[in-house]
Amino acid sequence: MDSFNQLVMRWERPIYALAYRTIGREEDARDVCQETFLRAFRALKGFKGQAKFSSWLYRIALNLCRDWIRRERRQPVAQAPEGVDLVEMASEATPTETIEDLVARQEISQAVARAMALLPEDQRTAIILKEYHGLTFQEIADMLDCPLSTVKTRLYQGLSVLRRQLDRNGGYKHV
């Protein structure tokens, strides 16, 4: 149990980040994160190591996110994202970062969250797994049970939509 808790500590942030970016609500993302580990713990005996432990966890978390989206019957993160507090960002800022940079960063962060909310679920998931979790195309394909080329297509389409959205929102300016 202690070693499992070590795994929880190792993976709770990535799983939470995945859930948060998928469903966009802090509280619900925490619930999904907690439920992911509970299910993983119960199913641990059945895990034969055929996949990476992280991939297995991601799959459980994604299924829970899908359940959440279906249950709530709404587009995830369609609301204004909770975003990150400016003061919180300031505490993580690099020494060379000015307050203008911080504000711009926060604006872009919110614009990205809004744009991601508008993506279809499959495109959003592909982008999240690739961009924020560094999975390979093959790992994403295995996780989403789709061909490799489909993953690339989803990424291409998703990034194209994001590009248009960020241009339109005016939040697309590089710091």
């Binding site: 149990m1 499992f4 808790n5 929880v8 709770e12 942030r13 939470y16 980040a17 948060y20 970016r21 802090e26 993302a29 925490r30 619930d31 994160c33 907690q34 439920e35 580990f37 509970l38 299910r39 713990f41 119960r42 909770e82 975003g83 990150v84 507090d85 919180e88 960063r105 872009i108 962060s109 614009a111 990205v112 969250a113 991601m116 982008i127 690739k130 961009e131 924020y132 390979t136 195309f137 080329s149 690339k152 297509t153 990424l155 291409y156 990034l159 194209s160 994001l162 590009r163 960020l166 697309y172 590089h174 710091v175």
Partner: protein
Amino acid sequence: MCNKDDLVSYLYDDLDRPARAAFEAHLRGCAECREELEAMRGVRADLLMWSPPEPDFAFRIVNEPRAAQARNEPRAAQARNEPRAAHAENVLRPTVPSWRAWFTPAAGLAAAAVLVLAAAAGLARIEIHNGPDGWTLRTGAPVPAAEVSVAGFGGVRARDVNLTAASDAEAWASIERRISALETASRDTAGLRSASATGARSTDVDLLKIVRDLLAQSEKQQKTEFALRIAQVMRDIDLKRAADLNNVRVGIGKIDASVTEEAAAHRELMNYILNSNSGSTSPSKK
């Protein structure tokens, strides 16, 4: 027609060398792909700006006996409005416990007592075990035999050695160094050993005496500290119990007075009703 899969693969640096070279050749001649690639790199840079808020994780997996769980969980779960699944066989629990739910003065005191005992036990490095000689309580840290190889040295057994403080450990290490130096010297210089046998024996005895003194001193200090802490805890418990009993007595006294007062009022009311009845019925009898 441009191959968008290749563009994505190139964007994520997922092309092998020949495919990469081929795509770069394509890029040189295709302004649309160049522009698209740059734009997507910009989108990726923007994506990195989106970070989730700092989570407040406070759960770990714990095991609970089924009976206790069945008894305690449903109400607690309802009160906390937690997902049902989190209260099954293996429970995800906040690492910061909701202590207010069970914290009563008595429970708090008991918990404090246990904590102090545990802390004292930790300080004193108490070891309790049941062996052929019955229950044994020993203070001091058990030291692995590999670390203290003095088993055949004057009857000092490794497990009886106490290293409770840094100074003790240093002293012990220093003694060990001296012992091993002496042993080496006595092994290597056999001739000298016989000549100085008496001296060496006396040095060994001195060393042994120092070791025993150190052990005795350390144990004594630990025992005293432990006894003081136990006494303190017992005093606290007694004081708290006396205060609680007093509170109970005062409470019962108040209730008693209130009941007596109420009974008197009832009696008075009954008398009044009886008197009224007898007053109203007497004229008709006449």
